[in-house]
Amino acid sequence: MAQPLVKKDDDRDDEVEYSPFLGIEKGAVLQEARVFNDPQLDPRRCSQVITKLLYLLNQGETFTKVEATEVFFSVTKLFQAKDLGLRRMVYLIIKELSPSADEVIIVTSSLMKDMNSKTDMYRANAIRVLCRITDGTLLTQIERYLKQAIVDKNPVVASAALVSGIHLLQTNPEIVKRWSNEVQEAVQSRAALVQFHALALLHQIRQNDRLAVSKLVTSLTKGTVRSPLAQCLLIRYTSQVIRESSMNNQTGDRPFYDYLEACLRNKAEMVIFEAARAITELSGVTNRELTPAITVLQLFLSSSKPVLRFAAVRTLNKVAMTHPMAVTNCNIDMESLISDQNRSIATLAITTLLKTGNESSVDRLMKQITNFMSDIADEFKIVVVEAIRSLCLKFPLKYRSLMNFLSNILREEGGFDYKKAIVDSIVILIRDIPDAKENGLLHLCEFIEDCEFTYLSTQILHFLGIEGPKTSDPSKYIRYIYNRVILENATVRASAVSTLAKFGAMVDSLKPRIFVLLRRCLFDSDDEVRDRATLYLNMLEGDGAIVETDKDVKNFLFGSLDVPLVNLETSLKNYVSVPRELAVSLCIVQCLLAYSHVFVQYRFKNLQTSLLILILLPKEVKSLPLAEKKAPGKKPTGLGAAPTAPTSTVDAYEKLLSSIPEFSSFGKLFKSSAPVELTEAETEYAVNAVKHIFDRHVVTVIVDASDAEEFTEVSTKPLRSLPYDSPGQTFVVFEKPEGVPTVGKFSNMLKFIVKEVDPTTGEAEEDGVEDEYQLEDLEVVAADYVLNVGVSNFRNAWESMGPDFERVDEYGLGPRESLAEAVNTVIGLLGMQPCEGTEVVPNNSRSHTCLLSGVFMGNVKVLVRLSFGIDGPKEVAMKLAVRSEDESISDAIHEIVASG
């Protein structure tokens, strides 16, 4: 049969151009649709045009709102035609066009007329169309007709009304629920499908009433339902009732089991299967209950119909998970399915056999599977591999043949997912079956000798590093690992270096040899590989200056990270987002992260980015093991403190503030400003102020709020003494409304008592002179509430934020020195982080777009897009577009600019 077919296809290739819809084009068809408006309708022509429209829609073409409306209106004209065929097409296209509510009104009367037509076909279809497009208000008008239709003697009409009822129940349940009586009558219909539809609707109406469902099932299982589909439904409802009643009825026979069992003897296969499946899924099913169901499923296994075999084997596969013994009877039929043409069936058969198989049959089974593996798709192979893994865990004694099987298939062709499943399985077996370890590790070693997947190579190398040193002869793995250093790409080489180091750290006898190998890696062409080799060599050599004990080395290499990675990542991102002045291109920065019990040390390849090494050390390790280290950027802050690296000072501030009991209840520090000089540079007293913003409080240093109404002074923490030439700090706390970016101006007065100090004793005299010193004003501005946090991909961030809370406005900035100066002023004003280098304005450019990102107080992300333009007399205009997660924040950003 296949032969002539192929030939026919070839023939067609020559005339492939021919098709009734060849070159069909939307515009032209829409033109053609004008025939609907002809005074003399040609039903045939109109049908053809509708078919073309439907064809376009079916091919995925879409009509614009205008086009759809136009087509819809002209289609409504076709209700004048008496042609039955055309009317059917009209129904079809109205459903496809899914008209809007005001359009529906136009066809309602025509459809209602059809609903009451003498022609059953009109009635059935008009009901379906009307119910599809109608809304609740119209439904009350047609309800009467629908109730009649449900009990109509014509089954097509009744079905149409019932199915429409099922759909309408989702949107207008209270109306449909009133039809119960009619629906109940329809359940008794002689027409098979009406029975099915009526039962489905009746159950849905009552589904929240357990008692009613139970009654329904009780009465119907006595035997009035004949339609196979309706019986399938009844079986489902019955098992629902069984499930719910089993809680309170533990003793005696299961209710309704007899009904399910009787259904196993039904004429219709779909009913038999539904019942068998329902029985296998009963909770706590006994073997006695299971047996008849298994028997019919076993018969299905040898059916000539693939669908039947598939359904049976899939169900048995599930049963095998919970009741493997019950399925063993089917093993012979199951084995013949291994060679089934349908690979889904074959795979299910195999995995079922693997679940039900006993220890003695494993070898025979493996042989069969080996023949079968080469010609199935990867996804089935993965299923088989997983089944073999669990079989192996079940029969650990058989690990040898199963491990061999896995290593054999590992050598064959296959995609990544398949190979990964095999490697994962071997890894699990190595972990769980100690005897399999050495054998399995060698298989993995051989695999990475010729592995095209970097990910798998690195995973295996990592695993080797953990397990390899614990084996009886670790030295035999070194060759495989070092081969990677010679042959592979940089990523694999780097992880091979790490693995070598682990062997060196764990196995003393191998240490000298590892040194030799690691030293060779120092000449690698890749930075990462060299860096790792350097690091590990230093760690392992342990020459006293760097690491004190072997234990530290081991901790360092194998210690797990007890920090939530997300927190760490956030801290690092914040750290990196701040441009830092790094004098040398390669330098080591240490910083105290928000996670204060962890020191993080990382190294910058160049000024901006490129994180090279990240090492986490436990808190106890005080000295960091690299010679080039600098002092951490933690300095005394507050009064007289010089500006230091912002992030580290923020953390230092936080630590400082939380150490003061009065401030500890304020929650997390949101932002600390850079120190503001309140005095001229060369004056008697040098005073700097730092603004610390909390959710509800502002802590500043230095006193006297006069022009800041919304701030309530909460407490001050005066400085008890301030010796000459040494900095000290004082704090003032203001409360402000929570979450609101309150701004205001503080005028400051330094009030103090000067006391003479006896130079000989160093003690202050008792009496001093009260003095005041006028300081400059300190302003709390909106920018203080914005944290400059960068985003890596501004465009993505911008798009994903969406335009919901976008605020756009234009501002004239007046005459400016240059565009760059204007840009920097605005950035400074907003206190946000420039993204993607857009803070740099090219020379002589007339316009510039600058992208900013930040986090507003309350952890609200804010993105800003600034467009600048400059004209002849240096007048700068700016368009400011803000997107954020909160409308009020977007407005707040605008206010900053407007007031600045």
Partner: protein, 182 residues
């Protein structure tokens, strides 16, 4: 979740009629699983690729695909598919597929091939409309489905049931004579 399908009716997610290159002849989706046309096309394409090598000519075949159960049958250069959820009773899906195939065979007077299907696309579309309504199975008997569609060319008035059977018989008879004469 396991209970979910129990309490609902058998549901059809889509019915597809593709040609021997996997192109659409007529398709109908009843589920939101494939919200866009590109999602639909992608589903059709990978389903077609997955099944095209199989022999689904004498008996309907079945496969699991993206956690759906798909039953399918090929006649000449037409590929028929019916998709349901992965917990659906496979035999119900197969019954719906058989109804679809039978009805199309009757409507195309057993000349089941792509050109004929395209030339009678209105019949195919009406046929889809009569098999499933919004995912609910309307009718599974091929001759009844074909009967409902074929009233098309008949006058109204004649009782539907009779029309159906006489129509089906006429079609069958006509086909028989044609194939004998050929």
């Amino acid at each position: 979740m396991a209970n979910f399908y129990r309490d609902t009716c058998p549901t059809i997610k889509n019915i597809l009629l593709l040609d021997s290159e996997g192109k659409r002849v007529a398709v109908k989706y009843y589920s939101d699983d494939w919200p866009t046309n590109s999602a639909k096309s992608a589903f059709e394409k990978s389903l077609f690729t997955k099944t095209q090598k199989t022999n689904a000519r004498s008996e309907a075949e079945i496969t699991m695909f993206d956690s759906n159960v798909v039953v399918y049958k090929f006649i000449q250069d037409l590929h028929f598919f019916v998709t349901g959820g992965d917990e659906e009773n496979e035999l119900i899906l197969a019954t719906a597929l058989q109804g679809f195939v039978d009805a199309v065979s009757l409507l195309l007077r057993n000349n089941v091939e792509k050109m004929e299907a395209l030339e009678n696309l209105d019949l195919i579309l009406l046929c889809l409309d009569e098999i499933v309504d919004g995912g609910m199975i309307l009718e599974t008997d091929g001759s009844i489905i074909a009967g409902k569609v074929a009233t098309h060319s008949m006058d109204d008035g004649a009782p539907l049931a009779e029309q159906t059977i006489s129509q089906a018989l006429a079609t069958a008879r006509e086909h028989l004579t044609r194939s004998l004469l050929r």
